[in-house]
């Protein structure tokens, strides 16, 4: 990157796409319910996702109660326990994290950050939300059908997912598969919007390599999702056929409780390949938006450019690409051809390199920064240490032979909760504390925020760090009760009790957070415009919160990247992306040398 004086960057290509005329809502219903405004859709997505996420939180409490205090809660039967873990996992991964990052933050931030008036297909965008809501309702309905929701585990492995020995065989599994299919249809409508908007609707001067990393993360994650979800879609449809029409895509010959079933010739492992061809990219569908957002939070609140921006962009792209060739590392002990292990272990460990680079660059952004320990910054730093911890245990599980003793134990549970549960959720919290003033015009309450932060960060670490060691002992996952087992010491039960207590406390802290969200909406301190003094475009709108159409008469024009913080010679420690070079205030004593601003 060359440092040049701002004057040389003032030429901008003329706009290639004309400004669009948006649909203007006329009634309350078209403005806030059947809304085509990406910002309203974003909030609809976010509220729905958080609501269903709270259901998943309650499910996790019940499952932890069972694990911590077995033989105590008579309403948790073995069937119910399997239903709890299944629904908790599925809701968290798909209906909360995917929906909130892409449908929520994607919808809100993409048009604002690239300087567009809205998504390019607002009507399809509206449909996307309503199909998502339908998917959530179908999922919730499965709690109430005879036999209850499916207890097949969130991976839904056949044959057991559709056999009588698994709860929810009669209706639960059907509704689950239908809900997933609906979710994917809804997501595809939204996802096409995000990709096309980033490619086609950027404002003048907003080159790809000037976009904030938040947009990069969401953009690449959406591409991954558009390519990965179809594998899950066909898997769900084929399993639905196996269940309802008696086909045998995934069903070999089976004798169930002494009775021969009318299946034959199918392959259970085929489903696992389809599932993980989706399932591994899914990890990065959740992680990449988190990577992007946390980069921006660190940069804004450390008043410093993100370190190694171009490397960060390429790391996102490379991680996204590699995530499609590592899926079978979830299947090392599945019985697939063992020679696959060599390839998938190698590809999996290679992915650690660009991921590690991202971590280094986040930490180097703090180095020689001007760190404001605001709530978003606290969450961002907590994310880094949590992600590093969860990431390195991935190096254990990815290294094929190490996975053999550890797979299907609590080590795996601890690993994926740390890396794709706690870490992305910490980013979500940071992002909400960061952008809440933009969305509502008010700040979230600080005291409640600090309470929420400390309990969540330390509590989650206390839950998941010791859990790895249960896996080393050999404690298996998805066990309703471990009973007396020869190789498991009694102290493991004490540890389980501790984890349960910690989980209940961390869960309660989330209630404080939800209360804060609602309370601050009415009683929160009014925010000034651009309270964090950020450079990116979403803070530069004429109104805050931004009005329908985002910008006034004219779209903003972009002159610089999103990271001009603490530029030597400038009077302010941040230069908004749409600040023209000749309007930059020069600090005293620098008049002669001018401002050095990065330009690409």
């Amino acid at each position: 990157m060359t440092d040049v004086t701002p004057e040389t960057t003032s030429y901008l290509a003329p706009a290639e796409v004309e400004d669009v005329e948006l649909y203007h809502p006329k009634s309350f219903v078209t403005k806030y319910i059947w809304s085509q405004d990406a910002k309203v859709i974003a909030i609809q997505y976010a509220v729905t996702a958080i609501a269903i996420g709270l259901v998943a939180l309650v499910l996790s409490w019940m499952m932890r109660l069972q694990l911590g205090f077995p033989d105590t809660f008579s309403f948790i039967s073995p069937e119910a326990y399997l239903q709890l873990i299944t629904m908790h996992g599925m809701i968290m991964v798909i209906y909360l994290l995917t929906a909130l990052f892409l449908g929520g933050f994607g919808n809100y931030l993409i048009p604002l950050m690239v300087g567009a008036r809205d998504m390019v297909f607002p009507y399809v965008n509206m449909l996307s939300y309503w199909v998502y809501l339908l998917a959530v309702l179908v999922l919730v309905a499965s709690f109430f059908v005879p036999g209850g929701s499916t207890g097949a585990g969130w991976t839904l492995y056949p044959p057991q997912a559709i056999l009588a020995g698994t709860p929810g065989q009669s209706y639960g599994i059907i509704l689950m598969l239908a809900s997933l299919a609906l979710f994917i249809i809804g997501f595809t409508m939204g996802g096409l919007n995000y990709v096309v908007t980033v490619l086609q609707a950027r404002t003048r001067g907003m080159t790809l390599m000037r976009m904030p990393l938040t947009v990069w993360g969401i953009f690449v994650a959406t591409i991954l999702a558009l390519l990965a979800f179809p594998a899950l879609f066909v898997g769900a449809v084929m399993m639905m056929f196996d269940r309802l029409l008696g086909t045998s895509f995934f069903m070999p010959q089976i004798v169930e409780f002494g009775e021969s079933l009318k299946y034959g010739g199918g392959s259970p492992i085929l489903f696992q390949h389809l599932f993980w061809f989706f399932g591994h990219p899914e990890v990065y569908i959740v992680a990449l938006p988190g990577f992007g957002i946390v980069s921006d939070l660190l940069s804004v609140h450390a008043r410093k450019n993100i370190f190694g921006y171009r490397m960060m962009v390429w790391a996102i792209v490379v991680i996204g690409g590699l995530s499609f060739v590592v899926w079978a590392h979830h299947m090392y002990v599945s019985g697939m051809n063992p020679y696959f292990g060599f390839f998938f272990a190698t590809s999996t460990l290679i992915i650690a390199v660009p991921t590690a680079i991202k971590v280094y660059n986040w930490v180097l952004t703090l180095w020689r920064g001007n760190i404001h320990l605001t709530l978003p910054m606290l969450f961002a730093i907590a994310f880094i240490i949590t992600f590093v911890n969860g990431g390195i245990t991935g190096l254990f599980l990815g290294n094929v032979v190490v996975d053999v003793p550890l797979s299907d134990t609590m080590f795996v549970v601890a690993h994926f909760h740390m890396v794709m549960g706690v870490a992305p959720i910490l980013v979500i919290f940071g992002a909400i504390y960061h952008w809440y003033p933009l969305m509502s015009g008010r700040m979230l309450n600080q005291a409640m925020g600090h309470f929420h932060f400390w309990v969540t960060f330390i509590g989650a670490y206390l839950i998941y760090f010791p859990m790895h060691y249960l896996g080393f002992i050999g404690v298996p996952r998805r066990y309703y009760a471990i009973g007396e087992t020869e190789f498991i010491p009694l102290s493991a039960a004490t540890l389980n009790e501790f984890i349960t207590v910690a989980a209940l406390i961390v869960g309660l802290a989330q209630v404080v957070f939800i209360f804060n969200l609602v309370w601050s909406l009415f009683k929160g301190e009014k925010s000034v415009k651009n309270p964090w003094r950020a450079t990116s475009l979403e803070w530069q709108t004429p109104q805050m919160p931004p009005a329908h159409g985002n910008w006034g008469k004219e779209l903003p024009v972009v002159y610089r990247w999103a990271y001009d913080y603490s530029v030597p010679g400038a009077a302010e420690d941040f230069l908004p992306q749409n600040l023209a070079p000749d309007q930059v205030a020069i600090a005293k004593g620098h008049e002669a040398s001018g401002v050095r601003a990065a330009a690409t």
Binding site: I254, G308, F487
Partner: protein
């Protein structure tokens, strides 16, 4: 300030917990100490990275916290530093991957002299089959499974007639003899896992999977199912006893072969296994999926 302190406590605390906590590997009882060594290498490399990043971050938070009048440095990139970190990371990754792949090659290469045994799984129990005097397991097919022939062996295969069947009882293995474990299931996915042996593999209906190991100390070990297989998953256990050779031979003499079992089943009400099956079929919905307490008795004798 508090955050820097908490980060240091968290990093140091994690290391102390790792060193002092009572929870660690179950003592090994097989030849796969190679796996444990690979894990030790991985712990060292990743542990150093974790401590370094955590402490460096704590230092940054403390040293570069906002103070009146300070301003952040302006440094968009540093190619040399970025390349340097990339190379070191790649070396670290190679340091873990190389021994990992080396041991994986051993894990999937079964020694020629290994004894062959079979574990058969069904909801929710394990059964075992030994090849008998001819040293060859007879062919089997899920389609042959019946109350008379719960293993689904091919009744016309001469190799199968002397196969030793161990229905829902403890498996014995001779000490220090490599054993190739063939894995088979008749209903859904299962997994045969003895933590002390370190090895495990899924059992998949419609195919035969395998792993191998050499038991290196005598004792009684509990195996568990490690792949979700329905409501009774957590009750699915078996016991593996590793014997000195003489004790093993004594036990082996007491077992009956497929031929004997078939004759006996035709004359009586069927095997224990088929009894268990028919009980499940005729029971109420509750008893089919109800709580089945883990089998404990065989460990207590």
């Amino acid at each position: 300030m508090i955050l820097a302190f908490v980060l240091v406590v968290l990093v140091v605390g994690s290391v102390i917990f790792h060193l002092l906590s009572p929870w660690w590997w179950t003592p090994i009882a097989s030849n796969w100490d190679y796996i444990d060594h690979t894990i030790t290498i991985t712990f060292w490399i990743t542990g150093v990275v974790f401590v370094a990043i955590g402490l460096f971050m704590a230092y940054c938070v403390f040293r570069f916290r906002h103070q009146e009048g300070t301003r952040a440095a302006y440094e968009p990139e540093n190619k040399r530093l970025e390349w340097w970190l990339t190379v070191v990371t790649t070396l670290g990754v190679a340091g873990m991957l190389t021994p990992g792949l080396f041991v994986w090659n051993q894990f999937i290469t079964v020694p020629k002299e290994a004894d062959v045994i079979e574990v058969m799984a069904q909801q929710w129990q394990f059964s075992f089959r030994l090849p008998g005097k001819d040293g060859v397991l007879g062919t089997s097919d899920t389609g042959n499974v019946s109350s008379e022939n719960p293993f689904g062996l091919n009744p016309n295969d001469p190799n199968g007639q002397d196969d030793v069947l161990i229905e829902a009882q403890d498996l014995h293995l001779p000490l220090n003899r490599p054993v190739k474990v063939l894995l088979r299931s008749v209903d859904t996915l299962h997994n045969f896992y003895v933590p002390q042996f370190r090895a495990k593999m899924d059992m998949v209906p419609g195919m035969v999977t395998y792993f191998w190991f050499t038991p290196t100390r005598t004792g009684t070990f509990e195996s568990i199912c490690a792949e979700l297989c329905g409501t009774g998953h957590y009750t699915m256990r078996a016991v593996v006893v590793v014997d000195e050779d003489s004790a093993y031979q004594t036990w082996l003499q007491e077992q009956s072969t497929f031929k004997q079992a078939l004759a006996k089943n035709r004359n009586s009400t069927g095997s224990k296994l088929s009894l268990a099956l028919s009980k499940r079929q005729t029971g109420s919905a509750d008893s089919v999926y109800g709580v089945i307490p883990p089998k404990r008795n065989s460990l207590r004798n």
